[in-house]
């Protein structure tokens, strides 16, 4: 990770962020005072990063503590955290702790849950993460630019009793649209991006650097935490010659299983934890590819085995199932039913069911209008005061939520404040006990999920293709 060190505020924090390889042995021996508040500080500021390789020019970025990604915050399940966010940008910001079930006032949505943090001001977020797992943080103000220029970081909530692995790896994946001279390309909010697949970029970085080879050792077992911190780029990762086992999605443990077709589909804002037994031969090389977009497959990185002899003769014989998180189980027999329908966008092949039912409009989103809607209603932007809730749930009620995608595009729908139990996709039940805060809907998909409305407040539900959110694919619901 090459960065401009003059922007780095705290050496301590730099060291912490650099220490992404944490062995469980170290984690297990860490002394923790569970009751003591875990204090952190984040500075949203300007920096520069080397995103396209050593020979390419520096890219000016907006970044937490001047680093891309921002420092990895490692906190502990059930231990109170206090994070002071200082805004050194030239515009207002907030921080959303994506996937964490926390008090509404800490959720980071401008206008809806807090006043925006003005330049030069700060805000202290306080919460106690109930769930262990892989989460992330990002601004929820001027989201296209602020995330697109680099503001994002991983938030790892550690279990008291983690599974046994040799290394705990984290890949924070970011996607950048750069010009030929290495600058962040202008054109944020282009109506074409908004009405199609969002501002997908041309450079993908792992932990803020162009993906070089990943050196591994034969026989080791790693837990790899994948975080898609891109504005819009969906990924479908294949680990050539390996059999990754998915152990958690969006931070929430699931029954360990291999991905369908060996392909790990990771939409923007999703996280997937996999366990990899590295059983290749010493000295061998294996590509990690992303083939989500037709005709645009590429090699993201490669596992390169050192020549050392295997760490052990046989794969580690230890369970990979993560301890369950304390999620409230919905009572389906007595659940309130709600349905949201995703509408709008550019048509894929003359099949538009457009906003307001128009067919063949000039272009959705043209002339500053919204490109998308939920149940016929477009909430645009990042969040603001006076957003009327689409529906209201009584606190404690179970809600069975149907999401229907009428559009020709993919949408990772993110629910704030809750995790959704996945029940069925297109009529077929979803196995493996999956809970997600960001559920991906393919074009025309219908998804059934459920949650317990145990957390009061006005909560957002929006697409995490940031352009889609900004252009109307967003709603709010209330828990009394």
């Amino acid at each position: 990770m090459e960065l401009d060190f003059k922007y780095l505020v705290s050496r301590r924090r730099l060291l912490r962020a650099g220490a992404c390889l944490v062995s469980t042995a170290v984690m297990g021996s860490r002394l923790s005072l569970a009751s003591e508040v875990d204090e952190h500080e984040l500075n949203a500021t300007h920096g520069r990063a080397s995103l396209a390789g050593a020979d390419a020019p520096w890219t000016p970025v907006w970044a937490y503590d001047g680093m891309v990604p921002g420092p990895t915050l490692r906190v502990q399940q059930g231990r109170p955290v206090r994070i002071s966010v200082v805004n050194a940008l030239d515009e207002s910001t907030t921080v959303h702790w994506h996937g964490i079930r926390l008090p509404n006032a800490m959720d980071g949505v401008p206008g809806l849950t807090q006043a925006p943090i003005k330049p030069g001001e700060s805000f202290t977020y306080e919460f106690t993460p109930p769930d262990a797992g892989t989460f992330w943080y990002h601004p929820h103000a001027d989201s296209l630019q602020q995330i697109g220029r680099g503001l994002a970081g991983a938030l790892v909530v550690e279990e008291a009793d983690p599974i046994v692995v040799d290394r705990d790896l984290l890949w924070t994946l970011q996607d950048w649209r750069l010009t030929k001279d290495g600058q962040i390309a202008p054109g944020f909010g282009s109506m074409m991006d908004a009405a199609m697949s969002g501002r997908v970029g041309n450079i993908v970085t792992i932990n803020g650097a162009p993906p070089g080879d990943q050196t591994v050792r034969a026989g080791e077992r790693v837990r790899l935490r994948l975080v898609n911190a891109a504005l819009a780029r969906m990924m479908a990762l294949r680990f050539e010659g390996h059999r990754p086992i998915i152990v958690a999605i969006d931070g929430q443990p699931c029954e360990p299983r291999e991905p369908q077709g060996g392909r790990i589909v990771l939409a923007p804002a999703m996280r997937i934890d996999v366990v990899l037994d590295l059983q290749g031969d010493p000295g061998s090389r294996h590509a990690v590819t992303d083939d989500f977009y037709d005709g645009l497959a590429y090699t993201l990185t490669s596992f390169v085995y050192s020549s050392e002899p295997p760490l052990r003769a046989n794969p580690l014989d230890a369970p990979v199932r993560l301890p369950a998180n304390p999620l409230p189980i919905p009572n389906l027999a007595d659940a309130v039913r709600q349905e949201i329908v995703l509408q709008g966008g550019m048509m894929g092949g003359g099949k538009l069911k457009g906003v307001g039912g128009m067919v063949g409009m000039a272009m959705p989103g043209m002339n500053g209008g919204p490109a998308w809607a939920i149940n016929g209603m477009s909430m645009t932007g990042d969040g603001h005061a006076g957003m009327a809730p689409l529906f209201t749930l009584q606190r404690g009620a179970s809600c069975r939520l149907t999401m229907r995608n009428e559009t020709a595009w993919w949408h990772p729908m993110h629910i704030h404040g809750f995790s959704l139990s996945l029940l069925a996709r297109n009529g077929e039940s979803v196995p493996h006990g999956q809970w997600q805060d960001t559920v991906l809907l393919a074009p025309k998909d219908t998804l059934e999920c459920a949650f317990v409305a145990d957390n009061p407040g006005d909560w957002m539900l929006h697409c995490h293709v940031t352009d889609h959110q900004m252009a109307g694919l967003m709603t709010v619901f209330r828990v009394t």
Binding site: M192, M196, G295
Partner: protein, 146 residues
């Protein structure tokens, strides 16, 4: 009903090609990998004397803006043909007019995805305005209406 219109439009495109030109015209189409109407438009061009090389790209808005297409007049794909940029679902007779007249412009565009345009379904609900644009910062002008 939409489907009927669509099939009818395709039938017209196939049955009544414009007067054939001597040689195949080569074109390169940059399109979003998930947008399928552009492919119908490429097929329409191929029935009318073009050879279209389709290149899926994720940063289409960047490519079209680099090509000089005004942001408020973007079509759903960008075609490079014989030194010109043709953005969006421009009817083929207008593309051929451009390649014959060879005006001093960067290209032409039909904004958005209007109903009834080649590659789209639906009935036309008004005339299409095709704009000419240049890269010298001048305002776009009307190149043709149809």
């Amino acid at each position: 009903m939409k489907m009927t219109y669509r099939l009818a439009a395709l039938a017209v495109a196939i049955a009544m090609p414009l007067p054939a030109v001597a040689a195949t015209i080569n074109a390169v189409m940059y399109k979003n990998p998930q947008c399928s109407c552009c492919e119908s438009y490429a097929t329409y061009l191929e029935h009318n004397g073009f050879k279209v090389d389709i290149k899926p790209v994720n940063n289409l808005s960047q490519i079209s803006s680099d090509a000089g297409v005004p942001a408020d007049l973007e079509g759903c794909h960008t075609l490079m043909v014989d030194g010109y940029v043709v953005d969006g679902l421009v009817p083929v007779d207008i593309v051929k007019k451009l390649l014959t007249e060879r005006p001093a412009i960067t290209g032409i565009t039909l904004a958005g995805m209007p109903a009834g345009a080649p590659g789209m379904g639906g009935a036309k609900d008004g005339p299409f305005t095709i704009y000419a644009f240049t890269k010298d910062g001048k305002a776009p002008t009307v190149y043709a209406t149809e």
